[in-house]
């Protein structure tokens, strides 16, 4: 299983639950797998999650393919710090970020964020904050292939 190897990289208490992934991301399967292996049933009441998916349309053009460049060491460091930040900012049981890089097609999942907590308010807020910070500050750069050729995406999307 892809996911077992992904999550086994995490040594509890050492690494934060942030993963960079070059191959296909199955967000809901990875979320379930993570939950089954890292969370204790009954210990949390709220799970908020978000998946960002590549659309086949952007800025008025059909998009055939996208390559997501990153700065491996800085990107990992940024994601780790972001997990630390949300874990200290909200009362959470756990959080998770999985972010693709490399080449992807429309319909492919790009990013998964999740937060577990006792109550829904914290889970929703933390999950959303993870996405807002990823969009605003995580070192990733999108290059799209359209019928007109390749182009860098110049602004973080909504």
């Amino acid at each position: 299983m892809v996911m077992k190897s992904l999550f086994s990289r995490r040594s509890p208490g050492v690494n934060m639950p942030a993963f960079l992934l070059e191959h296909t991301l199955n967000p809901l399967q990875e979320l379930e797998q993570y939950q089954n292996t890292h969370l204790t049933a009954g210990s949390y009441g709220a799970t908020a999650s978000f998946t960002g998916t590549m659309r086949d349309f952007n800025a008025g053009d059909n998009v055939q393919q996208m390559t997501l460049e990153h700065y491996p060491e800085m990107t990992q460091k940024f994601l780790d710090q972001l997990c630390n930040e949300v874990m200290s900012k909200w009362s959470l049981v756990d959080c998770l970020i999985i972010h693709r890089f490399g080449t992807m097609k429309p319909g492919d999942a790009i990013v998964l964020t999740a937060a577990w907590s006792a109550h829904r308010k914290e889970a929703f807020s933390a999950c959303r904050y993870l996405m807002e910070e990823l969009k605003a500050r995580a070192p990733f750069w999108k290059k799209e292939t359209t019928g007109k050729g390749q182009r860098w995406v110049h602004e973080a999307g909504d």
């Binding site: 790009i110 990013v111 990823l134 969009k135 750069w141 860098w152």
Partner: protein
């Protein structure tokens, strides 16, 4: 001192540099690292920079052994 310098995404393509290193006997700011490695190319508005994988400012001082990076606004997520 010796500085490792990296460029990403459209900056990497425009400048034609992925990574390089420079040595200098004087102290340098991030912006001076840019000037040294790009032959003083114009510094595009909104360019972001990092020292040792943390966001930094143009006028921050660089130390021996640091890794400095330049990149355009991020577009992940």
């Amino acid at each position: 001192m010796s500085i490792e310098v990296k460029f990403f995404a459209s900056l990497r393509e425009t400048l034609g540099i992925e990574s390089t290193s420079i040595t200098s006997s004087a102290g340098l700011t991030v912006r001076e690292v840019w000037d040294s490695t790009t032959d003083s190319a114009a510094y595009p508005v909104n360019t972001l920079c990092a020292i040792n994988m943390d966001y930094a400012h143009q006028d921050d001082a660089v130390k021996d052994g640091d890794e400095v990076a330049f990149f355009p606004p991020v577009t992940g997520g």
